[in-house]
Amino acid sequence: MESGNVAWILVSAALVLFMTPGLAFFYGGMDRSRNVLNMLMMNFYCVLVVPIVWVVIGYSLAQVPFDNGFIGGFDAVMLKGIGLDDNGGSLATIAYLGMFAAITPALISGAVADRMKFSAWAIFVPVWSLIVYVPVFKWVFGGWLGQRGSLDFAGGTAIHVNAGIAALAAVLVLGKRRGWPQEGHPPHSMPLVMIGTGILWFGWFGFNAGSALAANGQAVQAFMNTFLAAAAGGLAWVLVEWKRDGHPTNLGAASGIVAGLVAITPAAGYVSGASPIWIGLLAGVICSYTVRAKVRFGFDDSLDVVGVHFAGGLVGSLLIGFFANPAFFGGEFREGLFYGGSLRLLGEQALANGVAIVWSFGLTYAIMVVLKRTMGVRVDPEVEANGLDLELHGETAYHGGGLH
């Protein structure tokens, strides 16, 4: 691999690592002050355990051998056989993909906030990574779903739809927080949410533009798309709520930015021109409504992982079926409907997401049920009332006050 490409992958990997603390603050600010440290720890735990799981067995199962469409094997266990003969390109790519593996289960933490036992989370994360994330990753990126022609540039299906639907399955087993939805659970620190949003946006350039796995034109276009879709998503959400609810809120801007970023993720290397603006706008508007589904259908997805990541990921992935523009990239993938393509690409997108949804929902539900029946997944009501920070971690975020 050329040195320029290796350099860009290394920088991108560091950018993606930074997204996990960004996500921690994004979620942590939305959480209540007595549970913020638990939220941070659930996220940071993912960057403690997943890199090790990834190197020990995850990468091998997810990628090697490349020609098996369903699952890899044990050939690259513990990085066996990975040398520096390609100028470090393989090793850089494995590190880069490890960052994705780490943030994906972290996304789920927002749904289970305020009530999940940390010990159960500690088991859930590595198990989920291996039996849900790894297979879906394999199928989508180079496996049977990818070979059929479905497109997922940086992980709309493999990461956001996957984690988003897993979040739904997890909260269905876990149950609602005490007092939800009658009792409000407003964010305890909006500034923290905004810092987290800024870090996420910054890191997302590595997530999307890095997924070209080269410092080339496709990376540049993915960078531009990431820039525009996030802006359009934030703008759309703020305008909707300004009209609908009366105020342009910080949380609306933050949520819209993330919705736009999620939606452009699968499409970043396949769309061009004004397409990212349309994708961002649509994601912002749609997600500003899908976050309301939890109250209507009665599932307590605390911080809207389903409403933002699942819905946004699905919107972006399906919009590839309309906006994909292979001529612009000189790439070998199908055209979207707006560029003279047939319904075939949209069909493949629907199939890939459908498969990911069924697999992820079913197995996540099963993992949670097994954990519930063995060690239990939910803290005692008293722990929930006193706050997880003090009860589970023996720490307090803000000394000297706070009635939250």
Binding site: G184, P186, P187, E241, R244, D245, G246, H247, T249, L251, G252, S255, S288, V291, R292, V295, D304, G307, L403
Partner: protein, 112 residues
């Protein structure tokens, strides 16, 4: 001696403090508090969901004064804290039996 306690709007605190100082007050204690009265609370909207915030932030002032000064200082305080809108707060006065300045051991009005 009297204990004057007032709950006022936080943004009026500096004005009240300045007015009381001009009127000869040499010390007071301020606490950030939350509560509701006729003003009730307010609503905040997060991701389209409205939350009723019942307890609004206020500042509580406490100062111990000599009997003869109490009425005059209450007037000063009320004047300084008033906006004329709902939520301006309240002032109340109570008798104090004992007051001691810890550093010197002085007690009674000498300690004010």
């Amino acid at each position: 001696m009297k204990l004057i306690t007032a709950v006022v709007k936080p943004f009026k605190l500096d004005e009240v403090k300045a007015a009381l100082r001009s009127a000869g007050v040499v010390g007071m204690t301020v606490t950030e508090v939350r509560g509701f009265g006729r003003q009730g609370g307010h609503t905040e909207t997060y991701r389209g969901a409205e939350y009723q915030i019942d307890f609004v932030p206020k500042c509580k002032l406490e100062l111990v004064v000599e009997d003869a000064d109490a009425d005059r200082l209450v007037d000063v305080l009320v004047e300084g804290a008033r906006t004329g809108k709902i939520g301006d707060g309240k002032v109340w006065v109570a008798n104090i039996e004992t007051l001691v300045r810890i550093r010197t051991g002085e007690s009674g009005p000498d300690a004010v």
